[in-house]
Symmetry: C2
């Protein structure tokens, strides 16, 4: 951290803590320069940084003031409940959520990336070219493990995540969901206990339920991720077979686990001989660059199974995911063969080409920047339009924002009210089998944030105000 | 049956039974005319029919003789064993079988259709056009049930199978295998007993095993299909939850169940409250036209689940299958959501277009003719090149031939020997969890039967001779 960043962070903290109230004039550049023993330029840079963060505003000839806009909302609370559940986790609500969007609907409840980006065009071209060739490989799925070209390219990409793997360590799947399903069936039998983050993405919970697993929800910090301490207690009480975690860009909280937490989690799992299933679907959409190393990359035991896909980085409709199942490759291939058979060849070959030609890294770099920019913008809007006391996540990757409303607001009721305005959100209740998130929601900020989306967020805020007043 | 057909059938039976040995001169036209009280023309027509069947040959000025070629091989034996099995049904062998073909290999062991047919070209064109449009629908999987256009077209096609269904009764899946997996999980829990035909296709057995089911193999007649009588006995002994059957073009035997057997099976299942899972992947490749009505079409209870795909009619690499899950739609959607998520949009839209434009029915008609022609050709080759006593199936649909060798021949040993000549077959052992088919094999006759394939069949026959002599 440079000097000006350090100073900006210090002042920012004081503002967030309320030591400098809104509208108050901040110390002059000269005063701060003396007080902190830094140059005038350093203080100027620090103030510019705080202006960028919209915490401070400069007024001509008067100096710097704490911005009139509201303070950043607090973080969502960390849920402290640990529970074993066998009930079907709100399939009725999930079913509603996955209904196709109506024409003209502003669908903020999905977990789809921006698929309209022009940097995806070479991919559509590749699909078109390949299909024209009428190659047998696009029509017959030859290798149950997936196309060797794509597996090779994935192995190359994974170097950035700290992993050394080759094409033979990878199995292509029908999207990330099949990768997770295979991972779970590699290490568990029906009736086994699987620990998950709380909150956990709905497809994860439904998948575990569909496979007949018992779900154990572990308290999860909105910044640091799954509580290793709580997990340790849980492992002593329950015969846990696997832990399903997202170390980077978790859905819905968006956090990236600090490196030492990843290491601690791995140590704990190894001590208890518990498999880790690491969902890395959002890993390459990490805002910090280079991206954090996966837990898989720290493992030598083969008991960590890495699952990922191109659904979040490219497009979900391609249905191409993959798993690096560690020491479980033979079982994984069996699950793949007996579950869906080989994955379609055409999209695999197109993606392999897209990566090889350098389009992939360019696209992902661009989307990371767009998503990070959008995060700040939409967080600002929530700050502006939602009631005081609203809490929001601080995503470090991906394109999903988690919002915790006042506990008196029922998100399902909110969603029904919004439906009349053709706006939809993801209600918190589907992110836990054990309940608890009735006043939470998740919104998607992947697409360029137009005035229409701003109006939708404003409308949601107004509706929350209204529900609170009733 | 006309008079000449009756006479031809009578003579054919006598030849097959060996009453008229090979090379022997058959009764003259005049003698037969008197003996059977029919006209000269009728006898001439009967002999012409027998000539077409290659049972008889005419020699100028000498009359008719029993053809020098060998008699049609007998039918495979119907296995009478009923057994409950929990062992993993030869995954090692299946794994070998699904390895990608080596360059230049004549892969007769696959169950892939002919994907090089020119009548598929409009499909590749549709894929290419759709991908150029860069439509969001090809990139985001909107409806978990699949594209409405395709579901509508499938419902229209299914009229020929006797079914009245509409788009809302259909769920698109990632190939037919996922359709079966969903069907089984709709009606069974892990540990339940599922009855199957014996022999049963390897993916079916592996799938049941992968889902933790107990497999009950029911004796199956190579012409009439699963023994309803044996199934009835089995239902009295075992708590069977579902019966998995292929009523038309069964893999590997190729039979089509007679209508009255379908009805009897349905009645039995209903009496015992057992679900029927009807695999119709080969249904539209039935040689008899119009195709037989499905069991599903006879059902009113909603307890018959119809599974199918475009893998056998178009191409397996498309990975588009579907299920009409009867009364289990909500569960089926849950399984789909939690298993793989929505199926890729692009191939669905392309197939819907292909059907709508009339290309589909034309293609299927053409392939049916090709496959039926190939069946007769390859059956002739097996007759010519394989040892006496070899038994073969009489496929009524699809493109797979089941061959039963002398019990002293080990098909795995045969396959290993063939591997040196870059020929591969499907070994019988993978078609049963309980064993029994060690001397059987399945070969694919989908592609145009070139001299190369003829040489391969001849080579297999020679190798069988050789193994018998050892």
């Amino acid at each position: 951290m440079t000097r000006y960043q350090h100073l900006a962070s210090l002042l920012g903290q004081r503002i967030e803590q309320g030591l400098y109230p809104i509208g108050v004039r901040l110390p002059s550049i000269r005063v701060l320069s003396k007080e902190h023993g830094v140059s005038i330029t350093t203080v100027q840079q620090a103030y510019r940084e705080l202006e960028d963060q919209q915490l401070v505003e400069a007024r001509a000839k008067s100096g710097y003031f704490v911005a009139q806009r509201k303070l950043r909302p607090g973080l969502p609370a960390c849920c402290d409940m640990t529970q074993c559940s066998l009930t079907i986790p709100r399939w009725d609500l999930v079913r509603e959520m996955v209904n196709p969007a109506r024409a003209g609907e502003i669908a903020l409840g999905t977990a789809a990336p921006d698929v309209a980006a022009s940097s995806l065009k070479p991919l559509t071209r590749a699909i078109s070219h390949l299909s024209q060739r009428h190659s047998a490989r696009t029509f017959v799925d030859d290798d149950i493990r997936g196309c060797a070209e794509l597996r090779g390219q994935i192995a190359r990409l994974m170097i950035d995540s700290g992993s050394r793997m080759d094409a033979d360590n990878i199995l292509i799947t029908d999207g990330g969901r099949e990768a997770l399903s295979i991972a779970i069936r590699c290490v568990c039998k029906p009736g086994d206990v699987v620990a998950v983050e709380k909150p956990c993405f709905p497809a994860g919970l439904q998948l575990l339920h569909g496979l007949g697993m018992n779900i154990l929800e572990i308290p999860t910090d909105p910044v640091a991720g799954i509580s290793v301490e709580a997990l340790e207690l849980a492992l002593e009480q329950w015969p846990v077979k696997a832990v399903l975690v997202t170390s980077t860009g978790q859905n819905p909280l968006g956090y990236a686990m600090p490196a030492e937490r990843r290491e601690a989690l791995l140590r704990l799992a190894q001590e208890h001989d518990v498999a880790i299933i690491e969902d890395d679907a959002y890993g390459e959409l990490s805002y910090p660059y280079p991206r954090p190393a996966t837990i898989t990359s720290m493992d030598l035991s083969g008991n960590v199974l890495l699952c990922s896909s191109f659904s979040k980085t490219l497009a979900p409709g391609l249905r191409v995911g993959w798993i690096a199942p560690g020491s479980y490759m033979n079982r994984a291939i069996h699950m793949k063969y007996s579950g869906t058979g080989p994955t379609a060849g055409l999209p695999q070959l197109a993606i392999a080409d897209f990566i090889e030609q350098g389009h992939y890294l360019k696209h992902v770099r661009r989307m990371r920047a767009q998503y990070q920019y959008n995060r700040d913008l939409i967080t600002g809007w929530v700050t502006d339009y939602f009631p005081c006391g609203t809490r929001v996540s601080r995503p470090q990757g991906g394109f999903l924002l988690w919002i915790e409303l006042d506990h008196r607001v029922d998100a399902q009721r909110l969603n029904r009210a919004l439906s009349e305005q053709a706006i939809s959100i993801a209600v918190g209740a589907v992110f836990s089998a054990a309940g608890k998130y009735d006043s939470c929601l998740r919104i998607n900020y992947a697409r360029p944030l137009t005035g229409e989306i701003k109006a939708a967020v404003s409308h949601i805020g107004a509706m929350v105000h209204k529900l609170l007043e009733q």
